[in-house]
């Protein structure tokens, strides 16, 4: 009843190249920059909008505000020295970089991380996924003016950061998963304290269900908005919850299990509508999966065992010529590290495949035309993208 119906008839027809021929001189159109500093932007990027009235005619994404040239930096560092910088490729879910990098190095060096480390890595990745979803659930409410969800989720995320802190020694950049294994064991009493956090999280998530998912304003503004046609999934490289919200039950944790996922019990959450609401519900269900997985892992993981495999002296670690691609399911879809080695002590090339690269740029540009200005923020957040991981 409140939903926005774009009226395309008032705009010029696209030219032969498919692009709109917009003449700003007519005064009918306006350029509007959303970002790079804007609460409704998923981090440091911006969208250059062309609007007509409150309808968006065109949106161009601009990235590059963060560029730190990580992939190049990695080529100048020894294999151990790459380890501390990979986490910085993605601030909100850094651990995936640590895992993929470590696993890629291990693959080419012919090393296998011990069982304990495999469990620990899985635990860390689920904790990281949980936190990443906290940012999403807070962000999507915030993008629609529901500021309280952001505060709640930040609080819960902080509690999980406490667990990260006591386990890894750091809150944001954990630097805990390193080639060969992990840096340590669970602290005494960790399971109990983690259970408290999960408990609190569940209570707050129930509140989120009431305040957000059962909220008629939220529903109205997200249902049927920002629909991604599943036919676009392939050509646009859409993976993860964005695809699962469109009925594609793909999840690398199930489809090509890594670490100890084949020993864990879980379902892949899906939805059918492929709109903002569907994407939010899939993630809501995924948080619960992560919570369950964390509980399972803590119950099933070995209590002792070496945390590290025997690795060569890292000061002159050379890795034979080779290439490998290691991938996993992060909170946003397929995350991967492509590593090429040439027999020296330095990586020849590292390429990071982050899902945000496709979702936040090409896909977003495709989805924007025809939306209402006020929906752009929610649309962007619903794709759950992190610019740092676009600009490696």
């Amino acid at each position: 009843m409140f939903s926005f119906k774009p009226d395309r008839s008032q705009y010029p027809a696209p030219g032969p190249d498919g692009k709109l021929q917009i003449d700003l001189e007519t005064g009918k159109y306006l350029k509007l920059w959303q970002g790079p500093n804007h609460p409704g932007i998923t981090g440091n990027m911006s969208v250059e909008l062309t609007v007509c009235g409150d309808e968006v005619v065109e949106g161009k994404t601009h990235v590059g505000y963060l560029h730190r040239g990580f992939e190049k930096l990695m080529e100048r560092r020894t294999f151990i020295q790459v380890f501390p910088i990979v986490c910085r490729v993605c601030v909100p879910e850094p651990d995936f970089n640590e895992y993929c990098y470590a696993a890629a190095v291990e693959d080419l060096a012919g090393i296998e991380a011990p069982e304990y480390a495999q469990w620990m890595r899985t635990l860390i990745l689920e904790m990281g996924r949980f936190n990443s979803y906290m940012m999403f659930l807070g962000g999507i409410g915030g993008a629609l003016g529901l500021g309280i969800t952001g505060q709640w989720m930040t609080y819960v995320r902080d509690l999980m950061l406490d667990r990260f802190e006591e386990l890894t020694g750091a809150r944001i950049y954990h630097m805990f998963i390193l080639p060969g294994g992990v840096r340590g064991h669970l602290p005494e009493g960790f399971e109990g304290r983690m259970e408290e956090v999960l408990d609190t999280a569940e209570r707050y998530l129930a509140d989120i269900d009431r305040v957000m998912f059962s909220n008629s304003v939220f529903k109205t503004r997200t249902k049927g908005v920002g629909v991604i046609d599943p036919a676009l999934f392939e050509p646009y490289g859409v993976t993860g919850p964005n695809a699962r919200a469109g009925g594609v039950a793909k999840d690398l944790r199930k489809d090509s299990p890594y670490l100890v996922y084949d020993q864990l019990d879980f379902e892949v959450a899906t939805a059918t509508d492929s709109d903002i609401f569907a994407r939010a519900t899939v993630r809501r269900a995924d948080v619960q999966t992560s919570i369950d997985l964390i509980r399972q892992i803590l119950k099933k993981m070995p209590k002792t065992g070496p945390a590290m495999a025997k690795i060569p002296n890292v000061l002159h670690w050379k890795i034979p010529r080779g290439e490998t691609y290691i991938k996993g399911e992060c909170s946003r879809g397929e995350y991967g590290y492509y590593l090429v080695t040439d027999g020296t002590g330095y990586p020849r090339r590292i390429n990071v495949r982050g899902p945000s690269y496709t979702h936040a740029m090409a896909l977003l540009e495709h989805l924007i035309p025809g939306t209402n200005i006020s929906d752009v923020a929610a649309l962007m957040v619903s794709l759950h993208t992190y610019p740092p991981e676009i600009e490696r």
Partner: protein, 598 residues
């Protein structure tokens, strides 16, 4: 849309009385125990190896000198200084630290108005320097190898009946693994008397570049094949790796390089000596000191003649060290390279008997004295005069010469150093061959915890059947009515040195023992035989407590005469090599100065 959907959001208000979630700063609660706060360093444990500096990907660490911490064996005296404008708190420096001295506090914040405060030497004065909590790595270091790669060795039963070499040497794969453990800190270089470029030649092993490795060895040591087997390896005693594990097998890696390079290739790699200068130097004694000096002088183009009293060159390397530790052909290869540089060695030519000092002085531009210590010392306790009591060095020399040496079924050795072990184990082998069993008793003044011999010598000699009695002082060699040796009477040692540190053993006479045996061997030290000098020169030279006095450049008080090696300094092959280099440099400086003067 039902009414419920409109109303439920209002349930948020129930949180209005919750404690505030966002607080101004995390102060007020301590950080987790493992939190990576600010660096701490136990400066008394830190050895200044700089491994932390090497690993830091941010270049945040500089090794700096700190007042009150001086360099010493196995410790550079430098300490890491950290720049928090660069650090990313990865704590790799903590994980890689060779001693575990580097840790972190679990402090959250550090506020200072002086930006330079954030470039600091942890462990000096920061308030958290003694904090208990904070990040330290779990267990021992894992970023570099802790355990030494084992080298194959002959089993005791297999080795006791012969003089075959005991250790096998590393295979290439083993050597690479052992070389991998080195962190290239260079602490060992300072300790090595010859300052061999250890981390560099170890790197050559890792790189499988044996040519480069060999050239590096020859830059500082023409006796690398010998030292690769029998060096006293003091370097390993200062290796950074020993703090949480085994020191790097520096000696075995040196040997491995030599093993990998064929003899002819060695000469090729070292290259030809310089053009002849026409200068002539005489060297007395073909031990490591004399031959090293000869090598250097010959490479510089000087004519060198080495006069050697015995039938073969090598000095104590041949006539002291037993063959099972140093096979003669290994020694011959080292000497062969030196001869290939044009050095002439005149064996069976004893100076003082076959040629005089005056003649040497007359015919050469300089004379270098490297005669070693070849006269065995005696305890002079009652009963040592007469048959049945021998000196270790005499027996070892005769064994090398292939002579049949006196033997008994039960032998008592006096002495607890390596020479005592060498004679005990050599005699054990002869006993095994002659009588089918070993009967050796070894008595030493020192208690077993303070033994002078290397620990592995103690272990191996025991494996071979040598019975060790520690803290026993010899009182008398017992003889029967016919004068035949029947054993050694000893008292227990209470202390070896007096309050002033002088050698003055004190005994517990109530604890007396007689060690039965029909032969006693004294292995308590050697002295130089300086009779070759003749009365006039002996009179003219300055002496220092029975030894010819030398200055730091190895000059004696006679301008034409230089001296080096065991005879004036000692105590081992690598020191003799180092001294050989030094004395050669002094001689060359003298020759060059004469050049200018003429």
């Amino acid at each position: 849309m039902g009414l419920r959907e409109v109303l439920t959001p209002f349930t948020v208000w129930k949180h209005v009385f919750d404690d505030p979630v966002t607080i101004k700063q995390p102060i007020g609660r301590p950080a987790a125990e493992r939190y990576r706060g600010f660096h701490q360093n136990d400066l008394d444990t830190c050895i200044g190896c700089g491994t932390c500096e090497a690993i830091c990907q941010n270049g945040a660490i500089d090794m700096v000198a700190v007042a009150g911490y001086d360099p010493e064996k196995g410790n550079s005296g430098l300490k890491p200084q950290i720049d928090y404008g660069r650090c990313c708190w990865c704590a790799l420096c903590v994980d890689v630290c060779m001693t575990g001295s580097l840790t972190m506090s679990n402090e959250y914040t550090w506020v200072d108005t002086d930006p330079d405060a954030f470039r600091f030497v942890p462990g000096l004065e920061e308030p958290w320097k003694d904090d208990e909590e904070g990040y330290e790595r779990e267990g021992k270091r894992v970023l570099s190898g802790i355990e030494r790669i084992h080298m194959e060795e002959m089993e005791p039963e297999a080795r006791i009946g012969n003089f075959d070499e005991i250790v096998a040497g590393y295979s290439r794969a083993e050597a690479i693994l052992e070389a991998d453990r080195c962190v290239e800190c260079g602490l060992c270089v300072a300790t090595c008397p010859a300052h061999m470029s250890i981390p560099d030649y170890i790197a050559a092993v890792r790189d499988q570049d044996y040519d480069r490795g060999l050239q590096l060895l020859y830059e500082t040591n023409p006796f690398s094949e010998v030292c690769g087997r029998v060096c006293t390896h003091k370097c390993e005693g200062s290796c950074a790796a020993l703090h949480e594990g085994d020191p790097i097998a520096i000696r075995w890696l040196k040997r491995h390089i030599i093993d990998e390079v064929p003899f002819d290739r060695r000469i090729e790699l070292i290259g030809q000596p310089a053009e002849p200068t026409g200068r002539k130097v005489a060297i007395i004694g073909a031990g490591p000191a004399g031959l090293t000096a000869a090598f250097d002088l010959a490479r510089a183009g000087h004519g060198v003649v080495v006069y050697e009293a015995l039938a073969h060159a090598g000095g104590m390397m041949r006539y002291g060290i037993p063959e099972y530790r140093l096979p003669y052909d290994a020694l011959d290869r080292d000497i062969g390279v030196i001869e290939a540089m044009g050095v002439e060695i005149r064996t069976n030519c004893r100076v003082g008997r076959d040629v005089t000092m005056d003649e040497l002085r007359r015919d050469h531009d300089a004379v270098v004295l490297t005669i070693g210590l070849h006269m065995g010392r005696s305890t002079r306790v009652p009963g040592t005069e007469g048959a049945g009591v021998e000196k270790a060095v005499d027996l070892l020399r005769r064994i090398t010469d292939g002579e049949k040496v006196p033997l008994a079924e039960q032998i008592v050795v006096i002495g607890g150093g390596n020479v005592a072990m060498d004679i005990a184990r050599s005699m054990a082998r002869l006993q095994k061959a002659e009588f089918g069993k070993v009967g050796i008793t070894l008595t030493a003044l020192e208690d077993i915890d303070h033994f002078l011999a290397d620990p592995e010598e103690v272990v191996e000699s025991r494996e071979e059947g040598v019975k060790i009695f520690d803290a026993r002082g010899p009182q008398e060699v017992m003889r029967d009515a016919e004068g035949k040796v029947t054993g050694l009477r000893t008292w227990r040692v209470k202390s070896i040195f007096d309050a002033e540190g002088r050698f003055a053993p004190a005994y517990d006479q109530s604890d007396e023992r007689v060690h039965a045996g029909s032969m006693v061997i004294e292995a308590i030290g050697q002295a130089a035989d300086t009779s070759l000098l003749g009365a006039a020169l002996t009179e003219a030279l300055e002496w220092n407590r029975g030894r010819i006095k030398i200055d730091t450049a190895f000059r004696t008080s006679e301008p034409w005469l230089f001296a080096a090696g065991d005879a004036v300094k000692g105590p081992d092959v690598i020191s003799a090599v180092a001294d050989g280099h030094r004395v050669a440099r002094t001689v060359m400086e003298k020759l060059a100065a004469r050049e200018v003067a003429q």
